[in-house]
Symmetry: C2
Subunit: 358 residues, 2 copies
């Protein structure tokens, strides 16, 4: 089923309004979720809407939050999100980072007491119109085993970087610090297919290709897959995101990050509050004139994009290319929704006396 | 051959003095090189000393540099290294970053017109005694093919992060953004062994296990190895380091980064000056009280280190553990040097009328 994105965005906004969000927050949260659907990251879009509703029903999301700075310096701040939707807290944190960068050259904001913030790329890209480089990262509930560990201690801990260019589109990298995101495993499970090697291990830490291993105590593998191929580097990256998002902010970290699914309760004796994010903005002209920088970014992008390809590949991609192309397509054709997602959205329509699809 | 590190460090310092470095610069440069040997990163230690000498002979390294800030804001600076040894320029840049962080909360310094800076971890760790988090990255001459490319467009582009803890040792990640560093391939070539899959591709971009492929137009692969295992993420990371080090600073970038080996001349029409670095320091208490942060880091580290291991593995490592253990050992036993490295050092002793090994 394909649905025009504006229609889906309006419905999503209406659901957030019914949850008690302010009109501004509801519009912001819907914008972040739809950005994921438009950019082809279906696992982080409206498919998650029911998850946010269930967390709100369990009183783990506060739709009337008092999001506030609790500590700051000229180039830094820590924000307590007051259990807000991460979809609302992260753009607010990014706004503070951008203000700090305007005066101090760079701005870095750690957020605690938050919830899942959607796609990291959305928040990083907020810096672009200001001629700034944007960064965004978040920790997440544990699904990933560090190198040599049989336990799940890290989330898929996403990392995004957005860099302005001149006449070329911006460079936008946005990725989980694992070999693959969890969404790809779910698709394989649905299709009853096996996973490629290097994606997962079983509950004993042995390699497996069974995509159901994750629900039986197994784990996703860090980027690099195996020690011999540098999995300790992927583990280091995931740890980096976890420590910046969780330890620096006063949020939870490692195995204590609260689960997104409402049927799992957070652990006892939590070391922090909620989940954490870390966002940053760097003013280009705090380093060199922005137009000069952008000309060089154009040269960088052009050189890479026109490089000689491996046989069978059309061109070398710049990070952000596939998502931008998908967005252009889906703005025309609408958002394709899987049947289970449609059912979830219909149940939300019923729950909140809204009309879904007229 | 094992040599006491103090003796090797003194010899290295003497070589830099003979090249015309000031006593302070010679001591600094030797300290960075020996840190690599002590920490077990042999490819980046005294094995490279002759390479620096050859670049100096070609007038591509200036041992009397005027390293200066050419642009700054409260939390940023751009430094022109005046063709200095990166071994000298990077600690100077880190000092500026630490000063900026003391007043603005964070400090970020992009360096242009520099040369190879040794191990990234050394520079990042300079922040630790100040209760700051340190970051350091550098671009390097092209050996790595982006996903889908048959060309070498990126260096092994290292990235380091040092985070203070309390009673635990600090978290120190320091890694190339490729599956493996080039040094490991050189070892395989010497032993006439094949490489594991996922490390290299041949000149057409096809997978190969021949470690000599790199000298025949092949390339190292980004962390992740293949598209299916997330090589586009390793490519994004390498690009990140390249753009921060090269484009933000006004240094060269991508395929234009000048080669470390003196027998290869830089390309024509360079877009920038020398190679580039990017370093940063973040004051912990610009986010939360340092002792509180360190207690949580201790909890993080302890939880990960004591997690259940995969069968056959003794324990889960924290980034920095292997290097710290190696350093303790080598301070006792001395630095093991391969015969070709001893020969290089002996030729330097002759060249500069120095005594190597008494």
């Amino acid at each position: 089923m394909q649905i025009p994105y504006q229609q889906l965005q309006q419905f999503t906004e209406d659901v957030f309004l019914k949850m008690g969000c302010s009109p501004q927050d509801a519009a912001q949260a819907a914008d972040v979720l739809l950005a994921a659907d438009l950019r082809g990251i279906d696992s982080h879009g409206v498919a998650r809407l029911i998850g946010y509703v269930r967390l709100w029903e369990k009183k783990r999301i506060n739709t009337k939050p008092n999001i506030r700075i609790v500590h700051e310096s000229p180039s830094t701040a820590v924000v307590d999100a007051d259990e807000a939707l991460g979809l609302v807290a992260a753009p607010r944190a990014m706004e503070i980072a951008i203000q700090k960068a305007a005066s101090a050259g760079t701005g870095w904001v750690a957020v605690r007491n938050s919830n899942h913030f959607g796609i990291a790329g959305y928040h990083a890209m907020l810096a672009l119109p200001h001629d700034m480089i944007g960064q965004a990262m978040t920790n997440a509930s544990p699904l990933v085993a560090p190198t040599f560990s049989a336990e799940r201690l890290l989330g898929t801990n996403a990392l995004a970087l957005a860099i302005p260019a001149g006449s070329e589109p911006p460079f936008v990298a946005d990725f989980a610090t694992t070999t693959v995101a969890n969404g790809k495993l779910e698709i394989l499970q649905r299709k009853k297919e096996t996973a490629p090697t290097g994606w997962i291990q079983d509950q004993y830490g042995q390699p497996t290709q069974d995509p159901t291993a994750l629900s039986q105590g197994g784990a996703l593998l860090p980027l690099g897959s195996e020690r011999e191929r540098g999995s300790h580097k992927g583990y280091s990256l995931g740890a980096w995101v976890d420590i910046f998002s969780g330890v620096l902010s006063g949020a939870n970290y490692g195995p204590w990050v609260p689960p997104f699914v409402s049927f799992l309760a957070p652990l006892d004796d939590l070391p922090g509050q909620g989940i954490g994010h870390f966002v940053g903005a760097m003013r280009i002209d705090a380093f060199r004139p922005a137009n000069e920088f952008k000309q060089h970014m154009d040269q960088w992008i052009t050189r890479f994009r026109t490089s000689k390809t491996v046989d069978g590949q059309e061109k070398v991609l710049i990070p952000g290319d596939p998502e931008r192309e998908m967005e252009a397509t889906r703005k025309e054709t609408g958002i394709p929704l899987l049947e289970p997602v449609v059912e979830d959205l219909q149940s939300l329509a019923e729950r909140f006396s809204l009309s879904f699809l007229g």
